[in-house]
């Protein structure tokens, strides 16, 4: 039942929304939360605990504790005490079998004790071993939080935003507002974030302070402070990066100064029955009364270590609650406290004196909320006089204001717990960890707080230690007969409170590179797939072999713009390349092309491509598609080391490239190229400049796929123009686009290697069957020493071509088997229509690498025979390339 309208209440009784809880309609006022509306409707049990399925009621009403987590519109683990309802919101209980009021799993609270001691998953349910999967399934269903619906189709949009502030104040209580105001008046750009709907902090639950806080907030805003409501800092990272959860947006703030004005965390007291519904923290009770005009109970007992409890008692009285007793620990610390009740608290017995009540307010130590400061590596110390941890040293750029600094007066120090043996005394509300669990953990040797934390899982639940860290340390100190300062703290890590994985992930974008002809490929029916960061055509039809035939028989066109393209320019360019590559380029004639592989210091192949000499001091280098950036960085690094007179430029994106290939390639080139493409004027491995379809181009006469070919390099923005021109003028020869899959078949017919496919981190040029590319007579090159070593010790394996007479197809990566043991692997394999066989390449032991030698490959679990071929399968003399 609502109280009569009260001054400063947050609800607007003239506006209502209706949501459903477990299918039943619930009416809420504007300004209500789901939790307050349910409380107004008479609900007292809001959740079931993690392990024992104990009833849980509203405790903090500030989104700190785990007690009121429900599934809202399909999203589990929503703290309904701070979530406003919308019209039609669907709210369901979670972690129950049955209902919140009758949860069958609550049996674990009564009879599960012997089976669920602390660390039970290491002790029980582990034998027989084969039964563990069944135990695991049962336990995972029995314990836990809400469940995600894997079939949910509705997606919530989330955004990431970067923001900057000179000063970021975290916390909009009085100290936060005052700090923000002071910085703003000093001329700094200030942003203040607060978790609630308006700044004011816990003072908003104090009827005497509400107007003062609102006035201060208005003054702060007028001073130019940007105030962000519903904004929750979830960590403080290096460089003063503060991710802020704003519901559907994760704002990543970077600030010169971060002010933690995060206030205090009210701590529960530890006594038997301290988790019964009706046992609340002061702010929870005050918020119910003052925000939403709800009477938290009819008759209350207040246990308090400081003025908070006293003030709360006054506020509750004003709301019509009868105060049965206020136990002020500053006057006397009770030895024994026991709360009892079945569905909710019905009595509290303090040192043997029983009070009938339906509300217990427990105001334990006001622990400074230093979580963010700890993330920033602030030093925290225990203050034995007040029984709390306080920050004592702050890193540069981080300030603390108000209660978070330890400015909390002189509270009494409560005992770790009030008596034993009369029911469960809960230390960690999230994980159902009791004082007995800590006692057992310490007895079993988990006597440091870090070990005890991991063993008991205390502080590891949704509240992340906010309500249990201090009590856990106190109990651990008592059980180890030491003190809290010696025990120390656990390590605080982000996030300070739960954040959804979706919010962390952000928008589902994946950076993709597309060539300037990409959309033409799509128009022509290409199936596009990822190759590295590029989107490329796999093939243009369901039959890649048809594209292979087109290349062999007439004319094929493939977009090879993804190749890396580098310019090496300067007087030392030739010498520079000689040092980088095992082969030689300084003697390459202008207008000629040479193939090269790049090796690292260990002589291992890491990339390959062609090098064309454009001028005496100018080379054009191509690399593999995925290797472009790495090779460029490799070049730049060595240029910096060697201090040679060379300029380097990565022109990969600037230049589109198309390979025109097949017996009719020359005929097409005669139509579109403004130069002589005759075999004498433009020979194999020549590089020529001119115009293709009116576009300035560099043409390389090379042939990766084994047929007469011209590789056209031209400015990217002309991509579609050139592509269209090639097909328009190539129509007479049925010019056919071909994708990567046909290209892989074609190059395999020539046994041209793909670096990374046919080589691995151990491959060197000698064992990759390219001894001709290594010029050991050069003074030096990267990897020379290692390759000389390979030559001296002799080759152990060799990359060879092979065919499978049976026609069975091994998978790529299939084992080469010798004497029942793995002795190599298949690197590439395809069926070739041109050859009429299954062909491939494999790394085999050197003694099995001779022409015609047979070896065994594991295919589908069986061994099959393969025959070594040391010459290309197609056009072994290269006559077509040179034609």
């Amino acid at each position: 039942m609502r109280l009569p309208p009260r001054e400063h209440e947050l609800i607007d009784r003239s506006k209502t929304v209706t949501f459903t809880f477990e299918g039943e309609p619930v009416r809420a006022f504007a300004g209500d939360t789901i939790g307050s509306a349910l409380f107004a409707a008479g609900r007292r049990v809001f959740g079931r605990s993690f392990k024992y399925h104990r009833r849980r009621g509203l405790l903090c009403c500030s989104g700190q504790c785990p007690n009121c987590m429900m599934t809202v519109d399909g999203v589990p683990n929503v703290r309904v005490c701070v979530r406003p309802p919308r019209e039609g919101t669907v709210v369901k209980a979670q972690n129950v079998v049955g209902s919140l009021d009758r949860d069958l799993m609550a049996v674990t609270d009564r009879i599960g004790g012997p089976f669920t001691p602390v660390g039970f998953y290491y002790k029980t349910f582990i034998r027989p071993r084969w039964a563990w999967p069944y135990y695991e399934k049962f336990l995972r269903n029995a314990a836990g939080l809400g469940k995600l619906d894997p079939h949910v189709t509705e997606r919530r949009r989330v955004d990431h935003e970067h923001a900057h502030a000179e000063v970021l104040v975290v916390g909009g209580g009085q100290s936060g507002l005052e700090a923000a105001l002071a910085h703003a008046r000093a001329g700094r750009q200030v942003v203040l974030i607060d978790e609630g709907p308006e700044p004011g902090g816990h003072q908003l639950a104090n009827r005497e302070r509400i107007m003062t806080m609102r006035s201060l907030a208005a003054e702060t805003a007028q001073a130019g402070v940007e105030i962000l409501p519903f904004a929750r800092a979830i960590g403080l990272y290096e460089g003063n990066l503060v991710p802020v959860d704003r519901g559907s947006t994760l704002v990543k703030f970077r600030a010169e100064t971060v002010v933690a004005a995060t206030g205090t965390l009210e701590q529960p007291l530890v006594f038997a029955g301290n988790d019964l519904p009706g046992v609340m923290l002061p702010a929870g009770a005050r918020r119910l009364a003052n925000y939403w005009s709800l009477r938290p109970g009819e008759r209350a007992v207040v246990l308090t270590v400081d003025d908070r409890g006293v003030e709360t008692a006054r506020e509750l009285e004003a709301a019509g609650v009868e105060i049965a007793e206020v136990v002020d620990y500053r006057e006397r610390v009770p030895r024994s406290v026991v709360a009892k009740g079945r569905k909710q608290v019905r009595s509290l017995t303090v040192d043997g004196k029983r009070f009938d009540c339906d509300l217990v307010v427990m105001s334990g130590s006001p622990q400074p909320n230093y979580g963010l400061l700890a993330h920033a590596r602030a030093r925290v110390e225990f203050d034995p006089g007040r029984g709390i941890f306080v920050p004592v040293e702050l890193p540069p750029g981080v300030e603390v204001a108000g209660e978070a600094s330890g400015d909390v007066g002189s509270p009494a120090v409560p005992p770790p717990s009030h008596g034993e043996g009369e029911g469960k005394s809960i230390v960690c509300f999230c994980e159902d960890v009791t004082t007995k669990d800590f006692k057992d953990a310490v007895a079993e040797g988990f006597d440091s707080i870090q070990l005890a934390k991991r063993y008991t899982t205390a502080t590891m639940g949704p509240c992340q230690g906010r309500l249990c860290h201090l009590n856990a340390v106190r109990v651990a100190a008592r059980e180890t007969r030491t003190d809290e300062g010696t025990i120390g703290t656990t390590t605080a890590r982000p996030p300070t409170s739960p954040v959804s994985m979706g919010l962390l992930a952000g928008r589902p974008h994946e950076a993709a590179k597309r060539t300037s002809m990409h959309h033409r490929h799509k128009d022509m029916g290409a199936t596009v797939f990822w190759t590295g960061s590029w989107r490329r055509p796999h093939s243009y039809s369901a039959d890649p072999q048809a594209e292979v035939r087109a290349v062999h028989e007439s004319l094929g066109v493939i977009d090879v713009s993804t190749l890396g393209k580098l310019l090496v320019k300067g007087p030392d360019a030739g010498a520079f390349l000689d040092r980088l590559y095992p082969n030689r380029f300084s003697d390459l004639k202008v207008g000629r092309i040479r193939y090269g592989v790049l090796t690292n210091d260990a002589g291992r192949i890491f990339d390959d491509g062609t090098v064309a000499r454009l001028a005496d001091d100018e080379f054009y280098v191509t690399t593999t598609s995925t290797g472009a950036d790495g090779v460029f960085q490799w070049f730049e690094w060595w240029n910096a080391v060697w201090h040679m007179d060379v300029e380097l430029a990565n022109v990969t994106g600037a230049v589109a490239a198309v390979n025109v290939t097949g017996p009719n390639a020359r005929k097409l080139m005669e139509r579109v190229f403004d130069g002589d493409v005759g075999n004498e004027a433009f020979a194999y491995l020549d590089a020529k400049r001119g115009h293709v379809a009116g576009v300035p181009a560099l043409i390389l006469r090379i042939g990766f796929v084994g047929e007469l070919g011209y590789e056209l390099h031209f400015p990217s923005p002309h991509g579609e123009h050139v592509w269209d021109a090639l097909f328009e003028h190539g129509a007479e020869w049925n010019a056919t686009p071909f994708g990567l899959e046909p290209q892989r078949i074609l190059r395999l017919e020539k046994t041209h290697i793909l670096v990374g496919q046919d080589t691995d981190a151990e491959s060197n040029p000698l064992e990759a069957a390219m001894p001709w590319i290594v010029k050991l007579d050069k003074d030096d090159f990267i990897g020379k020493w290692a390759i000389e070593h390979v030559q001296e010790r002799g080759l152990r394996s060799l990359l060879v071509g092979f065919e499978v007479p049976s026609g069975r197809m091994p998978v790529e990566g299939a084992q080469v088997v010798v004497g029942g043991k793995s002795a190599g692997r298949v690197t590439s394999v395809r069926y070739s229509e041109q050859v009429g066989k299954v062909i491939g390449m494999a790394i085999v032991p050197i003694d099995l690498s001779g022409e015609g030698t047979t070896f065994e490959i594991r295919i589908g679990g069986e061994l099959d025979q393969a025959v070594v071929r040391t010459q290309p399968f197609h056009d072994p003399e290269g006559a077509k390339l040179r034609s």
């Binding site: 970067h162 928008r507 993709a512 597309r514 300037s516 454009l614 300035p696 990217s716 923005p717 002309h718």
Partner: protein, 207 residues
């Protein structure tokens, strides 16, 4: 013909029976959003979009990839030609010079006399302008970079960022990422009331 002419789209010739047309890497995405194209200096330029005036009140995304771009190497003193729209010093010995496309040959030739290398990067780079009061907010959704000019990652793409005052914030990026970056920027802008606008929506001025 220079050895590096194949890097320069402005070396195209229309007298060989072909009509070379330059397309931005954003062209298809703009077409899908209803752009009206016009041919300007050999480029197919998205001149306008339906409803772009409203977007300018929030944030408009304008493709300026058709501008000329020259990368300069070396530490020589920059000769500030009146044709230069922007001169961004990436590092002490490396600068990016933006010009109108029709001026790029002249600019490049002039710079080549003063610097060891003046490379035409018109074909390599795209430019996306974020124009309007929400431009900085959209930028904040794409990158942590805020003090402009700057170089760094914008939505996982290496880019340069220039503050062009009334002409907005310019993102200069490798053109192969154009389609992706445009989609991402639109995705960030649309919830704020932003969207695409044509090149005519802003007047590109020298700064």
């Amino acid at each position: 013909m220079s050895t590096l002419d194949f890097l320069s789209p402005d070396r195209a010739r229309a007298d060989l029976g072909f009509a070379p047309l330059l397309r931005s890497s954003l062209e298809r995405a703009q077409r899908e959003r209803g752009a009206t194209f016009e041919e300007r200096d050999g480029w197919l330029v998205a001149a306008s979009f339906p409803g772009e005036a409203e977007r300018l009140a929030s944030v408009a995304l304008v493709d300026l990839s058709h501008l000329g771009k020259v990368e300069v190497r070396g530490t020589g003193e920059a000769e500030q030609s009146r044709d230069v729209l922007a001169w961004y010093r990436i590092r002490p010995d490396r600068s990016l010079v933006l010009t109108a496309y029709r001026d790029v040959f002249l600019t490049r030739s002039t710079l080549a006399r003063h610097f060891p290398l003046a490379l035409d990067q018109t074909a390599a780079l795209g430019i996306l302008a974020l124009v309007g009061p929400q431009a900085a907010r959209v930028l904040g959704r794409l990158t942590h970079l805020c003090e402009l000019p700057a170089s760094g990652m914008v939505s996982h793409v290496p880019a340069h960022l220039l503050d062009r005052d009334a002409n907005g914030i310019w993102i200069v990026f490798p053109q192969e990422y154009g389609h992706y970056l445009y989609e991402v920027a639109l995705d960030a802008a649309e919830p704020l009331g932003g969207g695409p606008a044509g090149a005519d929506a802003i007047e590109v001025r020298r700064q």
